[in-house]
Symmetry: C2
């Protein structure tokens, strides 16, 4: 069974995180949600729009070898926290080195870039490319895959991003079943 890690930091974008978790679990992926270590350690993580979600484990306990992929939801405050967290940055580098898949959506490709793991071609939320790099920024697709690095644009593309991850880690049959079951005709 494919296993995916989602680190959740205060200020994460809720639609992005929940869309990714929900689609991937429906697609047969084991998804583990990790909260960050910090001054007030708690598994209840507050999102950018006031929605609090319960995480599964502390990021402190996470071992890269247990996972096939790491994917970061967006939201600026959450993204800055992921970019500043030593354990998350070290995991991103280790996933890249071990040729696991690394993903990010919306503002979060900024955290991939800070770890030096972003590919040549990528996408992100419009205007965030100014904080990352203008070369290779693409606007023609909901999801851009460059080798092992997958990126996507924002809340409106999060379900389709989850579907592309299911296609890659599980297969096209699961992709088709989830797409039909969740009424995702708009995902091309």
């Amino acid at each position: 069974m494919a296993t995916v890690l989602i680190p959740l930091a205060k200020g994460f974008e809720e639609v992005e995180a929940v869309s990714l978790i929900d689609v991937m679990r429906r697609g047969g992926i084991e998804v583990i949600v990790a909260y960050l270590d910090g001054e007030f350690d708690t598994n209840l993580v507050l999102g950018a729009n006031g929605i609090t979600i319960q995480a599964d484990v502390s990021i402190k306990t996470v071992i890269a070898d247990d996972f096939d992929m790491i994917v970061l939801p967006g939201g600026w405050d959450g993204t800055y926290a992921l970019a500043d967290n030593r354990k998350v940055q070290s995991l991103l580098k280790e996933f890249k080195e071990k040729e696991k898949v690394v993903g990010a959506i919306c503002a979060a490709p900024y955290a991939l870039n800070k770890a030096g793991v972003l590919g040549d071609d990528y996408t992100c939320y419009p205007s965030v490319e100014e904080e990352i790099k203008k070369d290779g920024y693409r606007t023609d697709k909901m999801v851009v895959t460059d080798g092992n690095i997958m990126t996507s644009r924002g809340p409106g593309t999060a379900l389709c991003f989850g579907l592309e991850i299911v296609k890659r880690l599980v297969g096209v049959d699961s992709y088709k079943a989830v797409k039909e079951g969740m009424l995702l005709d708009f995902c091309k």
Copy 2:
């Protein structure tokens, strides 16, 4: 400020609930999430795909006059709980009588039908109409509005459902701003 109530029962569909809350809050609506009273009263509510969300208040404390609309997320287990809960059923009837707006998505129009508040025309998750009524079931739109009753189809239409609620309760300028900000071009 428009105010919307979302009752959340164990087994709710997470993408639907979170999409509605997120879009409506971005659109300038005050959204209050209520957990159901039950054997194990807790404000942490477990969804159909293993995601736990923290609710704001107990449904016991809710007064209809404080709200402009009630909207129910889907998920079968959550829907049956909403259909069986006396306070939720009584609120649905009171909202209808007082000409407030009543909404439901996916399986949840079943709970509206049980309360006798469903309109003539409606939509729901494909095949759920067999548990509701075949007359008036429409498949040509993501969101069907019949007077004060608004219904929608499933996870893939939840963001667009939230947008239509913003258009109705706040106005078209807010609708356009949220649609652009969340990259929801596919909502027609």
